[in-house]
């Protein structure tokens, strides 16, 4: 879900956890990040539509993903 949403934007998107950074457009990356509920994550967006991508992603995180990856 994260990956699909991220793919809509040109902006690069990274997720960081415990100083470990993965490509947010990579489903394999997101999986291996193994974010448990309550984990602290930092989302990094770079690129010309970074703002829109960030807004979209924050909304998605807030909505709780409907329990899916």
């Amino acid at each position: 879900m994260i990956v699909r949403a991220a793919a809509k934007y040109r902006a690069d998107f990274f997720i960081e956890k415990d100083r470990y950074q993965i490509n947010g457009k990579s489903i394999i990356g997101v999986m291996t990040l193994a974010a448990e509920q309550g984990a602290q994550l930092r989302l990094v967006f770079t690129g010309d539509d970074a703002k829109a991508a960030a807004d979209d992603m924050v909304a998605l995180f807030d909505s709780g993903f409907g329990e899916e990856l």
Binding site: N23, S26, I28, E36, L69
Partner: protein, 598 residues
Amino acid sequence: MSDDIQSTDGSEGPGPPKLFNGIGASPGIAIGRSYRYEKTAYQANERVIAREDVERELARLDDATRLSERDLHKIASVARGQLGTESANLFEAQALMLHDPEFGAAVRRHIVEDLWAADYAAQTVMERHRERLQRSGNPYLRERAHDMADVQFRLIRHLQRGQILSRIDEKAIVVAESLTAADLILFSRRNLLGCVMDHGAQTAHVSIMARALGIPAIVGLQGAAAQIPNGSSIILDALAGIVIVDPDEEQLSKYRAKRERYERMLREQRASATLPAATIDGCRISLMANLELEEEVAHLKWFGAEGVGLFRTELLFMSDTGIPDETGQFACYARIVEQTRPMVTTFRLMDLGGDKIRLTGPSERNPDLGWRGIRVLLEREDLLRPQLRALLRVSTKGPIRILLPMVTELEELRRLKRIMGDTIQEMKEEGIGVSEDIPVGVMIEVPAAALQAAHFAREADFMSIGTNDLTQYVLAVDRSNELVAHQFNEKHPAVLRLVAKAIKAGVEAKKSVAVCGELAAQVPAIPILIGFGLREFSASPIYLPEMKRVIRGVTTAECEELARSCLEREDATGVSNTLTDWFERHKELQSPFLSNAD
């Protein structure tokens, strides 16, 4: 035909001849070298490519990725309709993995920098990720490792496809644990001489495909495949269901002679293709063809077919490209009808599910009693409408009939007719020409439909009795389950009674009724069916000449008498004994080769 097989009496020849018994699934004799096909091994070996092949290897990776993706989207779309969003998402997630930038970049790097073959590179990268997931303490993520394995195997299978094919010598006899109909189509492009497999039954799809392609096949060897080494000299006699490995010179010359006789008989049969199919007392029987491949259409006249009684459309689109849209389907149907007209072509709407094409993976515990045939179509307009519109469009090009698979309830027929009526209206409004009179028929293959055949005969324009499925449902025997397959017998009196009932219903309603299952092609069954009043048979084209020979040797009166006595028997053995006696008295009808007798 020549074969480069020598006897094995030479000094370093392999052991003495070995003989294996199986079931002849597609008639013919092949003599050649074996090629062992291991389909379970989607394992890539470490392989380095030449620098100038990098581009080609990357292109191969792209192709395989695209094919895998197409598979997954197809599965996902079907899963969504049937299993819900959650399981569909699993497949969509697999498709995403294929396009994963991390994964793709790493695989490409290995190909470009390390000169690894694409399959090895993909396997290595995927296994690295899988290991990481498997080590995770999170059970959800460990589960995802299985998804990754699925993706890996699917991709490698597509990557190795070309190689598997190029490894097969022209004119080999393929030996495998099991093959799918799709495998067979693939191999047929290398002109394989024949195939031998451990699993399968005469009525399995791969067997039907082998007959359609005219490839001699033996199934049900039960573990023998493992004992036939690659490159062995083998004789495959699919007329007798025998495989001889490392034959001696005497056996080779004996089977070369038998092959010669068999081919001569085929030539004679072809010569009789133009004779009318009628009994001695002048009762006309129409012989129609069961087809599944576009390539078969060209041979119809050659076998003396008077039309297409059953075109199984689901197999037309079994290739990697998936089910085409309306335009694509229309083009395909039009090519067929342009060759078959003025003869009628009966298109059966896609029979998905069951043992045909699994829409839902392993999740249906009992797919043959599950979501298949018309049940799928009525729920999935996205599948039904393009096919229906394509067929309706083709109706102006030549006579067609539309046949509905797996009908149980009258309401299913009525609903389909309503949808068809609406579609015709809609197409007229769009200015698309549609023939006014397209007969709509039902398959009688569910016992309920056979029992209510009189009702169906009133509302359907024609009926086609599918004896393979009918038998499986009446006798509660899964024909592909080797533990009970011996109990599968289309000439069981209980099955015959239902067949007789359905034929009678059609005759009384003055509606055309055909038998299109394998039963129609069995020599001993032909006089029984004529005795029931059947006047239309539809079978694999390869059987039609032999069927005609039998039809031309009987009278309707003797057939009726035989049919009556078969119906009175207690069990399949009783029917079989009655038939043996009858054919004893009609020696001239016995087949020299194609013994379909039990």
